[in-house]
């Protein structure tokens, strides 16, 4: 659905995106992970047609370049910044966007989406009166008014309460279930691990690694740490086969507690870049 081939974009002497390639299939949630300045937002800007790449190509389905009008009709974008008209009500925001996209029955479509993100009871309230989490949910709904098949979500859960986070993640998973291709950027590793089918780790404009979460952890996450508590004290073992290590500890006897610390995407990032994601 989304095919990105060796795209590059420089601002002056700074290479914001430096040869990024990936594909995203229908029904897939593709995570773009990286710290601020990694090039995620620039990559998304190019994928959504806001910026033209200096080189490389991007294709959205059969519509081709995202700068083509046909392709833009397929693209849904929830920018990192909440992009809504605060003086308008939730329904007015969505109805306006639905009309701009030429949707039939814009009011009905707006109400469907408000229901989906749990804001239908607040449909007539101005966005300015919404909490941050509610605005995030509406920001997501606004990206979906025209029923897009290629959806770009840039930090959609930044700064939201747990209730809204759960609601947003549920909606994103539902979108993938419906067969849409979703590109999802986030700082939250646990979110990426929870919902992303595949992940690309970006830093300094480049993709350092790409694959499923399990593949990345297996390849770059390092060993698990098994901690065995016994009367003799605490015993920590690094291993790629933690279950075997636990079996051995239990067979030896004397173990009072066993803990496993499995590598995660944070460790993948640390291994790939030498620093933590939120540094």
């Amino acid at each position: 659905m989304i095919r990105v081939r060796d795209i590059r974009k420089s601002f002056g002497s700074i290479a914001a995106v430096d040869g990024v390639t990936f594909n995203v299939q229908h029904g897939e949630i593709f995570g773009l992970l990286g710290p601020n300045g990694a090039g995620k937002s620039t990559a998304i800007a190019m994928c959504t047609g806001q910026l033209a790449p200096d080189s490389g190509s991007i294709e959205i389905g059969e519509a081709g370049s995202p700068r083509a009008a046909r392709a833009r009709a397929l693209i849904g974008l929830a920018p990192q910044q909440i992009a809504l008209y605060e003086e308008l009500t939730a329904r007015e925001n969505l109805v306006f966007l639905a009309r701009v996209h030429g949707m039939p029955e814009p009011v009905r479509r707006a109400d469907e989406l408000l229901d989906m993100v749990g804001l239908l009871p607040r449909a007539r309230d101005r966005v300015a009166t919404f909490s941050g989490g509610m605005q995030r949910r509406l920001n997501l709904a606004a990206a979906l008014v025209h029923n897009p098949t290629a959806i770009f979500l840039d930090e959609p859960t930044a700064g939201v309460d747990p209730q809204s986070r759960t609601a947003i993640l549920d909606v994103v998973q539902r979108l993938a279930t419906e067969g849409r291709a979703v590109i999802y950027t986030t700082h939250y590793m646990e979110e990426a691990q929870r919902i992303c089918s595949r992940v690309a780790v970006m830093d300094r404009g480049r993709v350092l690694a790409i694959g499923t979460v399990a593949e990345l952890i297996a390849e770059h996450g390092g060993e698990s740490v098994v901690t065995v508590d016994s009367l003799a004290g605490e015993h920590r073992v690094r291993t790629r086969e933690p279950l075997r290590e636990i079996e051995r500890a239990l067979a030896e006897g004397g173990a009072t507690a066993v803990r496993i610390e499995q590598p995660d995407l944070e460790m993948v990032f640390l291994a790939l870049t030498g620093r933590r994601l939120r540094d």
Binding site: P79, I82, Y85, E87
Partner: protein
Amino acid sequence: MRAAVYLALKDLRLLLRDRAAAFFTFVFPLAIALFFGYVFSGTTSEPLRVAAFVEQSSPAATMLIKALDEDGGFKLTVTDARAAGEQLVRRGDAVALVIVPAAYAEGIDGVFSGGGAKLGLVVDPSRRAEGAMLVGKIHEVAFRTVFAAVGDPVQFARVLDRMEESLKASDFSFTDRLAIRTALSRARTMSAPAADGSAVKPTASLADWKPVSVEIAELSMRPGVPANSFAISFMQGIAWALFGAVLSFGSGIAEERQRGTLVRLLVSPMSPNQILFGKALACFVTCLATEWMLVFFGMFVFRVEVSHWPLMVVVTLVTAFGFSGIMMLLAAGFRTQGGAQGAGRAVLLVLAMIGGGTVPIVFMPPFLRVASNLSPFKWAVLAAEGATWRSWGMSEMLLPLAVLVAIGVFGLTVGTALVRRSI
């Protein structure tokens, strides 16, 4: 196209939701129009610019014109035709037109015999204070000319002849007639030239005499002259309505950029040109709405008359077009809402003021009047006045309309190109 209309409607809704912006766009111009309508004093330190038309040349008329011309309170322009003088008033180049009728000389001759001189005066009603002052000055100058006529033995002899003629036709008693004849005879003797040929010096009692028979025969509005000061101030209000609209929408692009919604619009099927068209359309509609609001309010509440409805429609359309162009230039110049509003306010305020938004152009000193040509507000106000109290025809409208169209074309072309580069 439809998407652009929805964008414009959204912007209009946002404008109405923003109380401050709505106030400055709709209420403030009205307040300005009412304020200036009520307080127009029309006073100026400059001499009153007055036009004069003499229907038939005569020594008395010449004397009056000379007196008006030499009076420090007037700056007189004598026209060859009444229409030309009225045109000067209509254009604001003269406060009033003094019409010296053909019968003026005869009236002066008969000033003591039941006749009396009459003068016509076409005054600009929007400048009634000056008009009233002018009436007083006319009386004063007329008095001086009559007084001078009495001091001229030849003319005074004609006056006495005329009085004796009218005495014959009167039904006075013999005694009264005798008394009057005696008085006239004495007056003739007194006014006889001195041995050296000089005129008789006026006596104190004669100097106190008031030539009450000299009256202003016509002090009323004529077609093409504003009915009242509100006819002026409501057209001034249009300048402030345009000011508010341009300021509100000039920062629209920057506002969309800052709130992130510009990205949404750019990712939508709308092209950048459609987005900009939507913005310009919202400004255009607002300009039109506020212009007509002022016209209708002035019309129904203050009897402001539209002289030419089709032209008024053209004027409002062209003005809205021109100022949509200015809005686009403003939008192109600034990337932030604060920058667009701050700088826009400063620049537009100066242009509105020198364009007649506060002090009507006709009251401005000459250098400022020339400078006002640089202000698009001046052309908008002038065009609106042309379609209302100035009663201009198409030929007179051509210049302000052409200027406004040129501003619109330039602003929309250059502004759109610059905004497109920035987004």
